[in-house]
Amino acid sequence: MQIAIAIFSRLVKAALTLLAIAVLNFFLVHAAPGDPAVVLAGEAGAADEAMIEQLRERFGLDQPFHVQLGKYVWGIVQFDLGYSFRQGAPVSQLIAERLPATLLLTMTAFGISLACGIALGVAAAARVGKASDTMLTTLALLFYATPLYWLALMAVLVFSVWLGWLPGFGYETVGANYTGLTRLLDILKHLILPALTLGLFFMSVYMRMTRASMLEVSQLDFVKTARAKGLSGPAIRRRHILRNAILPVVTLAGLQAGQLVGGAVLTETVFAWPGIGRLMFESLAARDYNTILGVFIVSAAMVILFNIITDLVYRIVDPRIGATA
């Protein structure tokens, strides 16, 4: 019951936040120089005033700014993200077509980075000061300092161009008409490079955090007590330290997972991955206002969703945390 109320109030807050984001971004994108009608007309290779006027009218850009804003917000309230005049389709449809690819990419990257990050962090903490620890922490530092897009370029160069092991771009083999397991494997093959390059940076973050957190917790009193009781090293690590050390890592990860969804522009561009990050970037250049705003709102919703999930997970793992936390 308490949880239900907490969730409800979170949802209300979330809705208000989303609305505020919609308004703020509406101002932002409309402040950008350039006009979708001129872009669209321009691309036709010729344009006259009549055509641009006609387009502006169709896009609703001839109306006063506050009317446009009002209409947009009213639409959002009704779960209507508007229409993309450039692509001739409802924004919700455009995003729905692209979101699965983004989710697949980011969640895979997230899963890999979290699992490997924690595992490596624990391993490094257990061997603190030894050569293997130094090696792991150095590697983590290195990945932490590497520009993601550059790593992606280099990975394509090595693994798909020089070695030819993996496809360097795309979501699946086009026109192969694979079904079932073959299709799954095909998508997986395309997924490896983008997911790994996207995941490596976060893996190094989680690894460093886990390691630090493990060492910190191992200094705490209850661990000393457990040790005094004669429990073995691995048992303490598993039962006492890990459980406590992992909480802050999971929290941070949860906060980042949502950000990942809107932040995969670079990876999607380098790997020609048909996701919403690219959709946003391409729409921006064309000033396809509704589509840009739609992507913003959807990715912000993802951030909020992951925050709520993190919160719930936290609550289940650690029931001491109250509803106000």
Binding site: G45, G88, S160, G175, P274
Partner: protein, 515 residues
């Protein structure tokens, strides 16, 4: 005897392509960059849309690489001696992709109703048209108000795509649901568009030309990164890189690969012509001496060799050498920094900085702007590079907020269609980046441009345009740079892909793959 005598072309001539061992079947993967915003060619006419939809839609004519008209939906045509009446005989047994019969009524609807409303470029040609009529189901008659030489070039698929009347009549064209699944008469039918990945077209089994098309299917592939596009070609994922889809410095490497061919043909109709608009209204660029100094300061040969990797031709003036009525009897501006400095000293240039706006179309254009900045600073001109994206570029140029701005425009085979619009004063209109953006105002020349458009014989026009070119080149209203060449790179086993003046746009119709 007038040059424009009544002429009849027969379909047999056009189809006389060697019927050797053309093999049916196979699929073609072609890069399309950027992803088109829509495929309804009557509504959207940007480059990528023309490339994909040129297989789905058709117009009355096609054009050889020498800009000679060929039959398409029209099997023959005549032009009256006074150049006023164009009569087209349509093909028999043509159906739309949804099975409905195609008739002359569709042509009248497209040209007179639909495109008049949606197609700005065609609208300016249609201004010369008195009436469009269909005396019977297979005949269309265009009657002009006055002779308009270039009118015969208006029947290209991107200029006058024929759209289905039964789907669009009486509807709101822009929001018609059928726009998502375009219906044309062309050799390929729309099958599927996986947004962000590919567009799939399949063979039109009921195509009215016996034996065509040869290919079973085409995939237009969307790959946003230029380097990834090159990799896709290398690894065999795609078969065709249309002009401009990879950066120029990749071209030699790709064409040196085994079994890879390339051609510079297939752009004759467009003849893309690059220049910098020099703002004639204000600042140093409003001074003719300054503009001439810019021409002498630029090392266009270097740009052609290094930035464009040897592709293209240094432009001599407003008209491309590939377009009709080109003349090279003009002042030639070579790379001469000393001369440029002299001119700057003569005008008393005080070092006022000029802003250069590059075209946001990828690395080649960025490098080009950087090279220009270098050239100009060598003769003492202070340059600042502006930066913006496609929308910002459109805004700045159409609102005249620049000093020098890169651009390139298509010429559509005739100065009256694609050239004069950039130089006549009646085309000085804020809000569009496709007209006289530089603000060049020369009434004496305006008259000559207008007269040349409506002269009846090509010989007369030839003389008129030669005179115009000679005069305008001395004025330097814009800094002409290069006649661009966009090589199409393809695997050599793809045959007969580029056979017309619009190349890949309508090439797959007769293309075939050697097994």
């Amino acid at each position: 005897m007038t040059y424009l005598k009544a002429t009849t072309f027969l379909i047999a001539a056009a189809l006389a392509a060697p019927a050797l061992a053309q093999q049916d079947g196979g699929r073609l993967d072609i890069v399309v960059q950027p992803e088109p915003p829509g495929l309804m060619l009557g509504l959207v006419q940007n480059g990528p849309t023309q490339m994909v939809s040129g297989d789905i839609y058709e117009s009355l004519l096609r054009y050889t690489t020498d800009l000679e008209p060929q039959p398409s939906l029209a099997k023959s045509w005549t032009i009256s001696d006074d150049g006023l009446v164009y009569t087209f005989k349509l093909q028999d047994g043509v159906t739309w992709h949804d099975g409905e019969p195609f008739t002359a009524a569709d042509v009248v609807f497209s040209a007179d109703v639909f495109l008049r409303e949606t197609h700005a470029r065609l609208r300016s040609s249609l201004a010369y048209v008195q009436s469009i009529e269909a005396p019977d189901d297979t005949t269309v008659v265009f009657t002009l108000k006055e002779p308009f030489g270039p009118f015969i070039n208006a029947f290209e698929v991107g200029t006058m795509p024929i759209v289905p009347k039964h789907i669009y009549e009486g509807t709101d064209y822009a929001t018609n649901e059928m726009n998502a699944t375009p219906i044309g008469t062309g050799p390929f039918k729309f099958d599927k568009w996986e947004k962000g990945s590919y567009i799939h077209l399949v063979k039109n089994e009921d195509y009215y030309v016996e034996g065509l098309p040869h290919l079973d299917e085409i995939f237009y592939r969307v790959i946003p990164d230029a380097a990834a596009r090159a990799v896709a070609f290398e690894t065999g994922e795609v078969d065709v890189l249309p002009g401009g889809s990879v950066e120029n410095w990749d071209v030699p490497r790709l064409t040196e690969m085994e079994g890879v061919c390339s051609t510079g043909k297939g752009w004759e109709f467009f003849a893309p012509h690059a220049w910098m608009w020099l703002n004639n209204r204000e600042g140093p660029t409003s001074n003719k001496l300054f503009r001439q100094a810019v021409m002498y300061a630029l090392d266009r040969e270097f740009v052609k060799e290094v930035v464009w990797n040897g592709f293209g031709t240094v432009a001599t003036g407003p008209i491309s050498s590939k377009t009709n009525f080109y003349s090279d009897d003009v002042t030639i501006y070579d790379h001469n920094p000393d001369k440029a400095k002299e001119l700057l000293a003569e005008m008393g240039y005080d070092g006022e900085p000029v802003r250069v706006l590059p075209l946001p179309y990828g690395e080649t254009w960025q490098r080009w702007a950087e090279a220009v900045r270098q050239n100009l600073s060598e003769v003492g001109i202070n340059v600042e590079l502006d930066s913006t994206d496609v929308a910002g570029w459109n805004e700045k140029t159409s609102q005249w907020d620049y000093d020098m701005a890169f651009t390139y425009l298509y010429q559509y085979g005739d100065p009256a269609l694609g050239v004069s619009r950039n130089y006549v004063a009646s085309q000085i209109k804020k809000g569009s980046p496709w007209n006289n953006v530089e603000g060049y105002d020369n009434p004496a020349l305006d008259e000559k441009w207008n007269a040349a458009a409506t002269m009846v014989t090509p010989a007369e026009r030839e003389t008129a345009y030669a005179e115009i070119q000679k005069e305008i080149v001395d004025d330097v209203p814009v800094a002409w740079l290069l006649e661009l060449e966009f090589p199409t790179i393809y695997r050599c086993n793809v045959k007969d892909l580029v056979t017309t003046a619009i190349g890949v746009n309508d090439g797959p119709r007769g293309a075939w793959i050697e097994q």
